[in-house]
């Protein structure tokens, strides 16, 4: 029995904390709103997408629209804030995108990032690449968006997520 304990101790020591769960929340919705639109007020305007809208979003963005619901807020003075998720390597990455009244990206904030590598997606310089992008932008890695080594999947999915939210704005928020 003692030998069994010795053998099982290392994996148990590792698995225990992991099973208990780990999540890093960097920003709440309110904090993301204030970061992108300082001083503005927000009106919740959650949108339920129709099948036709989902198809139009997927056609425009080239990205699958998984959810039927869009968590959006109308910003005082014009513009929108949308909170959404993309698939990370292990878990979902929650992010917020602020759009100007003209449909250009005002800012991107990473709210939850639980991956073990690629925390650079929270780097302001990397996120600044999205500022000013419109639905006409490619939003592709190694094109107008720089890749992050070791976190290519996360980088690509965030870029695709922004592209999809720009399509949502064009299809369902105007």
């Amino acid at each position: 029995m003692n030998s069994w304990i010795k053998i099982l101790l290392p994996p148990a020591a590792i698995i225990g904390p992991a099973v208990a769960g780990y999540a890093t929340t960097y920003l709440s919705v309110e904090q993301a709103q204030r970061a992108i639109f300082p001083g503005a007020s927000f009106t919740a305007a959650t949108v339920k997408l129709t099948a036709e809208q989902k198809k139009a979003i997927e056609t425009a963005s080239g990205v699958r629209q998984r959810s039927d619901e869009v968590k959006a807020w109308r910003v005082s003075g014009g513009g929108w804030l949308i909170v959404d998720e993309v698939i990370g390597k292990h878990e979902y990455i929650t992010f917020a995108v602020g759009l100007t009244a003209n449909g250009a990206v005002r800012g991107v904030e990473i709210m939850d990032y639980r991956e073990s590598y690629g925390g650079e997606v929270r780097d302001p310089k990397w996120r600044a690449q999205f500022t000013g992008k419109t639905k006409a932008a490619p939003l592709k890695l190694d094109d107008d968006i720089k890749n992050i080594s070791g976190a290519t999947l996360s980088s690509r999915h965030i870029a695709e997520g922004v592209r999809r939210l720009l399509a949502i704005h064009a299809v369902a928020l105007q």
């Binding site: 290392p10 590792i14 390597k89 292990h90 080594s149």
Partner: protein, 291 residues
């Protein structure tokens, strides 16, 4: 489970020494990063470590079941890898075995630890599975094996094993496929085997689906055919079975099972199984850390 406990306890007393020490050292230094995560027990993907980062694995493999008698062979592989660049990584591993064999044809009864050998590996990624249409990597292993993995018989094997790795993702990277194909050129297999040189053609195929955050379930198959002196067919075997993978922020683990679905060996009954150098079942647990 009794057969597992007896041999594993014995194995733990001796063979886990070196690998365990390395493994614990790795645990103590594990921090954050993640790449080259193994979704399968035997089949590999095309990802590589980011430059300047390292990872470490501990493999526990149990091979059990022959035509008759009791055969339990444990393999303990401890591996450390380092990314020289975002596309190129090097690795070194130590292989150890523990054999619990009783009344198996042509094998000595034994209950003992055996040092296996050391292995160096290099992997270069040409195409990324996340950016390109398909991931492509070339992997090369060079090994010195002082004892064979069938029964720990002495040898002076040096082998070189190039492998092509293909990796394709679907459905927003939630459905993942890997395909490996390669060869192994071995010298110095006497006296473990009758002939000194051997060519092995080997490969594998795996399909995994992310059914929940952190969790992948999959099916994999791996196979090999061996040709002594690169001259005649000695045996071929195909294993297939399920795999389960959990990936967390700082570590991951994969449990895989392979059943010998087909085998054929020279001078063996033509009954769809080969046991001279293979076992009926293979179970592998991998635990990996990135730091």
């Amino acid at each position: 489970m009794q057969f597992l406990s007896k041999s594993l306890v014995r194995a733990s007393r001796r063979s886990l020494g070196l690998g365990g020490a390395i493994f614990c050292a790795v645990l103590a230094t594990a921090t954050e990063s993640q790449a080259d995560e193994h979704l399968f027990g035997w089949v590999r993907g095309a990802e590589t470590l980011p430059g300047g980062h390292a990872d470490a694995y501990q493999f526990f493999t149990l091979r059990t079941g022959k035509a008759a008698g009791r055969y339990e062979a444990w393999d303990f592989d401890t591996e450390v890898e380092y990314g020289l660049s975002d596309k190129f990584q090097l690795g070194v591993s130590v292989e150890q075995h523990y054999f619990d064999i009783d009344n198996v044809e042509e094998l000595d009864n034994q209950n003992r630890y055996q040092f296996g050998g050391v292995e160096l590996s290099a992997k270069y990624r040409f195409l990324s599975p996340f950016k390109d249409k398909i991931g492509l990597a070339l992997r090369l292993e060079v090994a010195y094996l002082a004892q064979d993995d069938v029964a720990g018989i002495e040898q002076e094997e040096i082998d070189v094993a190039p492998e092509l790795v293909l990796h394709k993702n679907f459905l927003d990277d939630t459905l993942i496929t890997h395909f490996n194909i390669g060869g192994k050129f071995a010298w110095g297999k006497k006296p473990a085997e009758e002939y000194d040189r051997e060519l092995t053609i080997q490969g594998g195929l795996g399909v995994a689906y992310r059914f929940a955050p952190n969790w992948f379930i999959g099916l994999e198959s791996h196979w090999r055919s061996e040709f002594p002196k690169a001259d005649f067919h000695e045996h071929s075997v195909i294993f297939a079975g399920p795999s389960l993978h959990y990936g967390a922020e700082k570590w991951w683990a994969t449990l895989s099972y392979g059943y010998q679905v087909y085998g054929q060996g020279i001078d063996e009954p033509r009954n769809g199984k080969t046991y001279a150098e293979e076992a009926r079942n293979e179970v592998r647990l991998k635990v990996g850390f990135n730091f």
